[in-house]
């Protein structure tokens, strides 16, 4: 009941600390982290998928990265960069780094697995038609990899959005503010409200990505995706969805 009145209190919907503003901050941190993660993971994933080198090393270390406790890492990074960096950046940088580290593995795995498991018949046909290696990569392998890449980005986004609450631990904004401030002030309806908002945001993004996946993936591939429950792709995908 109290939670409901927290949601319906107009004071919580306005001002710099209001719900819309905090959702904005939350999405902003998440978007920055996601973009940074994609900039790192997509080219690296293509390289690994294309050359087939370093897969064991990168996959291993990427998965090890995900085992790092985010909050501990956040504080550690803060302590490390605090003497070097000045101003607001000292709070922003550790937060973004932690989120990026979380987001890189699913995108990376999705990308190289997608390229490696691209339909060999399609690749062979392209080669037969005189495609160069570069053309095969850009016009055949990458579009074939798209479904897995999108699903990697999708699971990264969910991880980022649900973890971005830790930004509040270093005094930043975002939906974590409600959770942390609510706990500090023993206002449990505020805490619950913050948690519910994070869950709703994650669900909305999940549906958006499901829709996006349908729009951007070539129709010709969709059938392959639905039946591509081949052992390779599922084993590769599994860690990305946990």
């Amino acid at each position: 009941m109290n939670i409901l009145s927290w949601f319906t209190d107009p004071a919580n919907w306005t001002g710099s600390g209001g719900i819309p503003a905090q959702i904005g901050y939350h999405l902003f941190y998440s978007a920055v982290a996601l973009l940074a993660a994609m900039v790192i993971a997509v080219p690296l994933g293509i390289l690994i998928g294309y050359t087939g080198r370093g897969e064991a090393l990168v996959a291993g270390s990427a998965n090890a990265l995900r085992a790092l406790p985010s909050l501990g890492l956040l504080v550690l990074l803060f302590l490390l960069i605090s003497p070097i960096v000045s101003g607001k950046l000292v709070y922003v940088l550790p937060t973004i780094i932690v989120l990026v580290l979380l987001a890189v593995p699913p995108i990376l795995t999705g990308t190289y697995a997608g390229i490696q498991t691209a339909d060999p018949d399609a690749v062979g046909a392209a080669r037969g038609m005189g495609f160069t290696k570069r053309q095969i990569l850009l016009r055949v392998q990458l579009p074939c990899a798209l479904p897995l890449m999108v699903s990697g980005v999708r699971s990264s986004t969910l991880q980022i959005v649900s973890t971005a609450t830790i930004a509040a631990y270093l005094g930043l904004q975002g939906l974590g503010r409600f959770i942390l401030d609510g706990r500090a002030q023993a206002s449990f309806s505020e805490m619950a409200g913050g948690a519910i908002l994070v869950a709703i945001l994650a669900l909305v993004l999940e549906f958006t990505f499901a829709w996006l996946g349908r729009v951007i993936v070539s129709p010709g591939l969709r059938r392959t995706v639905s039946k591509s429950s081949s052992p390779i792709s599922t084993t590769v995908l599994e860690p990305a969805t946990t």
């Binding site: 605090s82 101003g87 000292v90 005094g171 503010r177 706990r183 500090a184 002030q185």
Partner: protein
């Protein structure tokens, strides 16, 4: 099998309980009556689950032993909720407390802040059967701290001195400070301080300390017995308008256990103990020195016991 163990356990407890009812005394394990505390002749000294509390408890225990009172140490019990209960039911007889925190535990609505006000109010609010002795001048309370460089630059000694410069400074503290009277609200209403910004960090922890020493914040909420105040060359500004509740160290004792020797001994400890002593002893403890050795050294240095 399981049933039988349970039964025998029951039997043992009931025998123990019976013997306790028999008023035999001398069995330290059986809980005493309401005001009596533990039934043995020894005083059971308890402590909360953090270093400073254990250190002070160790000082109490050794001081009493030096005065010829046998003690038993039962440290590291837990949070206030737990050890006050233990004191009530007689599992411990003596525990070091902090006046302001104890008062707000017993009466969350209390607004007393000065040492005198807190002590006076606390006396009336103590649960029956529990007494407090004379509080020490030593305090572990919230302080607004700045670096030595900042203090020199703006000539800061008290929190009031911040008034003309607060607009240029960023304040750091725990998230609850944002809305709490003993925090940003009180600093504004009582002292007229409007800081440039407030950053939610932690309550006198690593985050606040690091941000303060590296200049991301210029003023921060720390605790008055934090050794970092000395090692990091910080200045704790004097709370000249008593915004933050006094947190004098005070022995809480089971009324039934109290006697003149105990009162005299612990009053002597409280009279000698200072906040600076706690800072240096906390620093020793942070280095890993055994708490009872630190306590022993301090007692010898103030002449309460021989080394």
């Amino acid at each position: 099998m399981k049933k039988r163990t349970l039964l025998s356990a029951l039997a043992v407890t009931s025998v123990l309980a019976l013997s306790a009812c028999g008023g035999g005394g001398g069995n330290p394990l059986s809980g005493g009556g309401d005001n009596k505390g533990s039934s043995g002749s020894e005083v059971i000294v308890g402590s909360a689950d953090f270093t400073e509390s254990q250190l002070i408890a160790s000082i109490y225990s050794q001081a009493l032993q030096a005065a010829g009172v046998p003690t038993k140490e039962q440290f590291n019990i837990g949070s206030r909720e737990v050890y006050i209960q233990a004191l009530k039911d007689g599992s411990i007889d003596l525990v070091p407390e902090y006046s302001g925190a104890l008062l707000s535990y017993l009466d969350p609505k209390s607004t007393a802040a000065t040492t005198e006000a807190v002590t006076a109010e606390l006396k009336g609010k103590l649960p029956s059967g529990i007494s407090m002795l004379t509080p020490s001048a030593a305090q572990d309370k919230d302080v607004v701290a700045v670096t030595k460089a900042t203090a020199d630059k703006y000539k800061l000694k008290t929190v009031s001195d911040l008034k003309p410069v607060a607009g240029e400074l960023i304040l750091g503290g725990p998230p609850e400070w944002k809305t709490r009277q003993q925090g940003v609200v009180g600093l504004r209403d009582v002292y007229g301080l409007n800081f440039k910004d407030f950053v939610s960090l932690d309550a006198g922890g690593t985050l606040t300390m690091t941000a303060l020493t590296n200049g991301q914040i210029q003023a921060g909420d720390l605790f008055s017995t934090d050794p970092g105040l000395v090692t990091n060359n910080l200045v704790a500004l004097d709370d000249d308008k008593s915004l933050f509740a006094a947190e004098n160290v005070v022995p809480l004792i089971k009324s039934g256990k109290q006697n003149d020797t105990i009162t005299k001994t612990l009053d002597a400890v409280s009279a000698k103990l200072t906040t600076d002593d706690l800072i240096s002893m906390n620093a020793e403890a942070a280095k890993g020195t055994n708490l009872s050795d630190i306590a022993k050294k301090w007692l010898a240095s103030v002449g309460i016991s021989k080394s």
